[in-house]
Symmetry: C2
């Protein structure tokens, strides 16, 4: 295996939100500096990074200057414009690589990739027209969800179809964007597994966490998840197949439905993931450091967990509860340095340690 | 109690070394930004801070600009020139306050303060001249240590006197600096207690750690320390008396000798302390966050420990052992982003979790 990036090397992070912020602090713990690329001013990551490039993704000069100032490029979100990636990758390696981005940027490509690996997904069909939608509903039935193929997150770009009559309004709400119809899955709970693959191909997984969503946004993740050990092993094996098939380097978040017939893959995210924040408490190497280890050529942490943790997202006005939470004896608080607490905005999270 | 500093407020840190670096990351977790003041270029803290003022401590314009850019001022080392503090404190509050600095900047004042509280210290005497030293040696005997009253750290500014004949060379080595002669203490082990006092006067202590030094530099701190529970309680009570007497706000490191006759105070440091780095693993609120909580008016963490930890400093070439350490399953690595691994230079530390 090649030597890891030397001490003092610079990691370029596309995106300056809370994930970039926590990646930057993890990189610092390993002796690296981070440069952030982010269109928005005064971003959370810039407050804890060595430098920040504030420019839009269609500014090639800024992209080139950024890329030339770093040793390796990574990202905190998957919806990076393809043209920007084209500019960047001729200058420095991008990890995780383009294949993972291509798959995860497109719900249809993602589902086809997963089924190609023999993994179970929700039933799905591509939808570009009203006729497509009618045919898809005939095949999949209702209830179902119509989703844009690209640029969805936190429940945005989605419309539920409870009965065939809902179809026209659902299609209209997506404003002509290419879409995918997904059937509902009858699941008992949602878990996610945070997996990592190193430059040398080795894989490490954290214990699956149990996710609870509210209004399409992750509310809590709890480890250990209330699942039998065999299912946790299945989740790790499945993660290994996904990462290896993509020749992946870095941390990936994989959301899974637990059903009577085993695990169904809901979604993959080629980055550190909100449902992996619990690893900041209870693991020697958290998901942020694990990602930095992977992309810089360090050996991976083994993912072992030495405490139970409940992660709760602090969304919008939840931030007003900080004075109480600060008095809880086992609460580790992680705030993101964002200015305004808008509804639905992730302002921070708290990891409660359960021994 | 007053409200804590609001989200987004700025903490000014005097000193840009590893302690400032870890304070800055802890402040970020609580939603604060940090501005660093540091004479040296490219300091470790600047890599993870919102801004850095690179200027000497005798540059009043830079000090004023720094102070006006922040909401509260703290520091990572106690030997800040008095004149700089005079400039700063008319602009913003300095926490911990001047009294703690005055006491801890001068070994003689520190010993007299501790004895005034009825606490035990090593026998000591002020030494300004050869005659003073002769008298002090007559009283205290040998072996003894001659130390400069000010600006000592990591074993610097010290000379051992094993027999009276060593006295002239020892005195000469201090080059005329006002000094203090300290008698040796017959101790079984050294522990330290990391204590904090909040703006409202509340106090919290972490479990005492067992310190091992090599060549005058801390090598390891291990919790739990091999001492009876009663002694740990004594250490906490003693810490409470020291912090309250100084009307202290922030974290203090207190080094103690364990002797047949109980605890003897070796040294106090009015800041986060190397022997408290273990709190980064095994506590919901580590010493760095505890310090930020104290100076910004948050409630303190309770100091509870949920794992055993051995902290090992990585000094000079120890950094070359990182590839092995990175493969240890329970090792949490913290590197400082320093360029050159000079002998005696603290390059990082590792916290090994012991369950």
């Amino acid at each position: 295996m090649a030597d890891p990036l030397p001490q003092g090397a610079v990691i370029g992070i596309l995106g300056g939100g809370q994930l970039g912020r926590m990646l930057s602090m993890a990189a610092a713990r390993l002796g690296y500096r981070c440069h952030i690329f982010e269109p928005g001013a005064d971003c959370p990551a810039a407050q804890v990074a060595a430098a920040c490039f504030t420019a839009p993704y269609d500014d090639p000069d800024a992209l080139i200057e950024f890329a030339e100032s770093v040793d390796v490029i990574t990202y905190e979100f998957e919806n990076i414009p393809t043209e920007a990636l084209d500019e960047l990758e001729i200058i420095r390696p991008i990890r995780p690589g383009r294949r993972a981005l291509a798959v995860s940027q497109d719900r249809l490509a993602e589902k086809e990739f997963l089924q190609g690996l023999g993994l179970s997904t929700a039933p799905f069909a591509a939808v570009n027209t009203a006729a497509d939608l009618e045919a898809a509903l005939g095949e999949i039935g209702t209830p179902a969800i119509l989703k844009t193929r690209r640029f969805g997150y936190d429940g945005k770009g989605q419309a539920r179809i409870m009965a065939p009559d809902d179809a026209p309004a659902a299609l209209a709400s997506l404003e002509g964007a290419p879409a995918i119809l997904e059937g509902f899955v009858d699941f008992s709970l949602e878990i996610s597994v945070i997996a990592a693959r190193g430059l040398g191909g080795e894989i490490a997984c954290y214990d699956p966490g149990h996710n609870i969503h509210e209004a399409g946004i992750l509310r809590t993740t709890t480890v250990p998840a209330p699942i039998p050990p065999g299912l946790a092993a299945d989740a790790a094996l499945l993660a290994g197949r996904i990462l290896s098939a993509l020749d992946y380097v870095g941390v990936m978040g994989i959301e899974l439905f637990v059903t009577r017939n085993g695990l169904i893959v809901n979604e993959i995210a080629p980055r550190v993931h909100n449902s992996g924040h619990w690893t900041q408490q209870g693991c020697a190497v958290d998901q942020f450091e694990q990602h930095i280890r992977a992309i810089t050529g360090w050996p991976l942490g083994n993912g072992a967990r030495y405490a139970g943790v409940e992660m709760e997202n602090l969304i919008g006005d939840d931030i007003a509860r900080i004075p109480e939470i600060a008095r809880e004896p086992h609460a580790a608080i992680h705030l993101y340095g964002k200015g305004e607490a808008r509804p639905g905005r992730k302002m921070g999270h708290v990891n409660r340690i359960r021994l």
